[in-house]
Symmetry: D2
Subunit: 382 residues, 4 copies
């Protein structure tokens, strides 16, 4: 019988839901060494926290995160709160000896992220950052193919994350629903929210980035603040694009925006190598596009691989349904918690940990610095 692992979840927003769902489902589908117990949900509003506890089966709820961190019965502290709170909670949790799972981006900036890395490493606690897209089966398969040398030398890595939900100037900033538009809560705009995902995947796939050159734009200059009710200057980047040099000699090209009409969450990447190319997008996450130059000339073409064939060895897929039946977005969180629990049970800890997330944060910092100065910026390597 699997040992119990007591979870304290801080934050009951969108990410609180995806993480709770992952805990509720993981043991139905994966053979993991721990059985998660949803102990406490913590959030700002007592009523809402209580309702959330009822809906998701938490044993209790509270409104002060310190109560979670201080709770001797809690094994894992989950940080699903706005970015500006991550560091304080994580450092306290590290000191309390908790295993920590933190939503991305890890911190408000690299400097702060570094203090978090130092804290968890000093405390020797297991730690993980929820860059969930690594565990889309297609994205995982790309990593395997790269590691096997199937691409040969890589020339290009291209990634976009396109949304359209902030085009209206009537969307407010700040508050519960739109803290991502408030520089004080989010630290940045699309860079930390969207590009961080692209960068995490890219570093994992294609190795370190040496330097970047970026441009940002804020299309809507003022928005009403949900807390003050007043128009305030918008501090975040609405859109950001950058190119870069990877250490392996390949060129990178990245772009994120919330002003791309017609795209809701279109995270895409494409990798061009000497021997093969691959591309993927989040709107059809169960497919991988693959071009293999080794194919017979007249029959070369981009393959649309439906990632549901567990006989074929598609990562994670043998845990789900039968071939042809696709999974969705939320499954990436189930995969990652399965990997985290397996890591906690012995062997290697799941990645990315805080240190890996720090590397992403450093790229984000360089991107924002480059855009601010209008020149190339070197990426800090820790």
């Amino acid at each position: 019988m699997a040992k119990k692992l007591n979870i304290g979840m801080i934050g009951y927003g969108f990410m609180g839901r995806t993480h709770s769902n992952a805990y509720r489902r993981v043991t139905n589908f994966f053979d993991v060494p721990y059985e998660p117990v949803l102990k406490t949900i913590c959030g700002l509003e007592a009523d809402e926290a209580k309702a959330f506890a009822g809906q998701w089966g938490y044993e209790s709820s509270c409104t002060d995160w310190r109560q979670v961190v201080d709770d001797k019965n809690i094994d894992v502290v989950e940080i699903c709160t706005p970015n500006f709170t991550h560091a304080e909670i994580a450092i306290a949790a590290a000191k309390a000896g908790k295993t920590i799972i933190c939503e991305k981006p890890l911190a408000m900036n690299g400097e702060q992220a570094k203090t978090m890395v130092d804290a968890v490493e000093a405390a020797g606690v297991a730690n993980f950052v929820s860059f969930n897209y690594r565990r889309v089966p297609a994205v995982t398969l790309v990593k395997q193919l790269i590691d096997e040398g199937r691409f040969g030398k890589i020339f290009h890595y291209r990634a976009n994350f396109l949304q359209d939900w902030t085009i209206s100037p009537d969307v407010p900033q700040g508050g519960m629903a739109t803290w991502r538009l408030d520089i004080k809560s989010a630290g940045s705009g699309v860079t930390g929210d969207l590009l961080a995902h692209c960068i995490d995947t890219a570093l994992w796939h294609n190795g370190p980035i040496g330097r970047v050159n970026a441009m940002t734009e804020t299309f809507v200059k003022e928005r009403m603040h949900a807390e003050t009710g007043k128009k305030e200057a918008v501090g975040i980047d609405d859109a950001c694009t950058f190119f870069c040099n990877f250490d392996n000699g390949s060129m990178g090209n990245f772009e994120a925006t919330r002003y791309a009409r017609g795209h809701k969450a279109l995270y895409t990447f494409e990798i061009n190598g000497e021997k093969a190319s691959a591309r993927w997008d989040l709107h059809d996450l169960h497919r991988l596009e693959w071009f293999d130059y080794g194919d017979e000339g007249r029959l070369r073409g981009w393959r649309s691989i439906h990632m549901t064939d567990h006989d074929g060895g598609h990562p994670y897929m043998d845990h789900w349904w039968v071939p042809g039946l696709q999974i969705g977005y939320e499954h990436t969180f189930v995969h990652q918690i399965a990997d985290v629990l397996t890591g906690l049970g012995g062997g290697q800890h799941a990645q990315p940990d805080f240190r890996a997330a720090l590397a992403t944060q450093r790229v984000c910092d360089a991107v924002l610095a480059s855009a601010a100065k209008g020149q190339w910026a070197e990426v800090v390597k820790d």
Copy 2:
């Protein structure tokens, strides 16, 4: 607080998993009048039933379905067993006053299905058949659009269900994993397994079918039987195609096969109306293709609608994540149990019930009779 509803599940195969998962998730995402309690799982092998109970949280397990039917504490009997067992269990459950949820196809043939309809109607128990694809959001939306008259007069209804898993003559028939290839367990081949889905959706979308003209084929004539270990003649249809007349004057064209290399579960349909057309496929179930003749001439084109926009009113989607983030196959079972529970709580019972499933069975019967005789067959209307 929602009332408890005690579930007795019979069958722990593929469908036992999808239904169990639906019960486990429904209250996390839908506000339903009942809280399902997974009381008992029943299956052939005691060890496996027990393991399944552990994995999915059933309070107990057993190997005799009569125990479930006779259990006073059970409110709902779930029938997820091979087709040849449905009638006996359902009729007993009806007599015991249980709410019944039965996997599709309802029965081995129309005659048998009729006895089941009679039983549930005589007993006055709520009943439902799990044609889950009605509750893919895109499929539901098509129904709404038809009901609103958005297609105008309908000329064509076309549906296919293409698989490729039985091409090898080494695939056995019979037994736990391949009972669908055994005529004694399944009643038919692709007609009851795959076309039944297409027909259920078609009747729902496009109304009754008057007559059909069909051809079947059995490509592999003999297969080893998993229970006897001997080669036995294959009694099922490996492939079936038919055309038909709908009562509304439109032409129907249907095909199913397990010999379409490259397709795993490619259920597709297309509807051509005077004013609009729509098409959908299960391999990208989160999309609906839509053509509207009312669009401006130079800008007319097939729209690929990403069915994740809850602001836009995509059915069921406001219960899940944020725009752009797709759901998968299993969610259709969550939707249907949500609708069933809502129906049980008062108001209209969810469809399709046994009577609706009987209509599908009658079409299947006509298809098989037509193929056997090589001539048109009228569909029995009950």
Copy 3:
């Protein structure tokens, strides 16, 4: 220097244009043993024939097709007139010893087609029928792959031809622009116009068809006749669907309609074999979809082959531009005239000839007979 070959074209409608264009272009792109000379264009209206001659460079024009057939200077008689005129012209041309190129379908029915075959074979003249889609590079490649055994045993052949241009009851029948809707001019509706294409390709790809079972429908029962100005009963099939048995054991499924809203000329086919599958459609004719079961399991997927890679050996493509740059519809006519001219220059005559087109006509006859009688019909083999 290539020898001159004098062309007499009968018919200046849509097909007169495509054939004239092919003659004008072939020597720019293909090294052929003859240089076509556009000698005479013949059509109903003297003014229009003259204007057409001016636009396309014909040396003369006339209104009586016998003048073309009797002209000693004409080497090739091109028949691009409505179906009901093909037989008379072709038989006269055969007697006059002309090479004959006839638009499809060859005749009004199989019986008539047989007289045409007899005529050209008795006269010993070269003859060809313009089923131009055989010479879409992707369609030609499929034939090569079949002949190489790349599909293994074939289970299914599926073809559709979907249009939407006659949905309005205000479209007239008869006359210059809409003779295809008039049973007296066309012989049949979608069967001869659209299915004939599908059948020609299918017989070429997949061999003879033994028997068929068909349904037809005429959605609009009366249309104004362009010549009489009166409402007359519509005699053609607006839509036709049939299934069939190929002699190689595979199942066929065909459908054509002019009532499929959103499709202009969507000719599609799909072939499912033991080892591979292929599909193609006319709306993106420069692509071939290919699935190869021999691919590594986790990387199996449908390949979208952009048929522009002459290094890879895509048929005909080394005559055109550089990789990535697509050709269009009209090029199929250039390909076929290049092949016809090459055949005339020695070696094998291009296919399909009248005899091959007779086989297609026999299937069309069987389809119409089956639909009329509501039962299976055997295909006549000559």
Copy 4:
């Protein structure tokens, strides 16, 4: 009767073929005020020029371009030679009072392009640069939609041009077939060859660019020179990416490479506006993707418009075939010569002329300067 217009073509390579083909076809499909007469083809090798004349119907051939420029009978000088020769020929032709049609890019750099503009404007001769992709019907339609305000405010303009033909280090530079890899012949690599197309379209669609920030890469540092037979340093840019600010406030993102395995000529662009978005690619040039935020919420989706509907008003398409039947790459040259001839016949001259092409050249210059210096560069406005 149309007046004759005598054409002198300089260059018989790839572009010599596309332009010759356009002249041969234009009067078959367009009612233009001039009838082009293919007077002289001029190229380096006398034998090849003569053969080309035979194949395309030129009355004569020569090897010295001055002979064409000096020929009193020539009305139009066509410059289809490598980039480094454009200026000298064009300036001489201008002085000789010829109408000039020049292949793109106009010149080796902006400075040189300026001298060409000065020459043609001083001479008052009609002039045109062959940025043929403006006349893909889908690309033309986008321009119309922008001019009608259908996009609202534009936020993003994104364009890529991806190829893969120079990945092998064995591809030589220089000479007849690979002069595009030789800095002395081409002036630049992908910037002048590929990005110039993207920039021309972008300036046309979205207005002037203010400043750019670019990165270039040369993956293969040395290649054998086809003329010297020796390995020489590669001077061109193998890949180039840049972002920029358009004067209308939108962000631009451009990339071109010849190292994107799997892409032959994948020119794509996407435009994101407040009210609508559009995207297009050259591999399926007969389609336009269109997203209209004005559509009903639940039915919003990207439309794939098959650009073959002349009733709908698709630009140029009423000159070709019937709906559903696609055109290809070469037709863009027919469209442009039709527009050029119409312009010569009176009214407005077709665009882009030399002055418009100079603006593109200035952006290319800024891109290369930015990449060389590693900083933002302002675009010179003439």
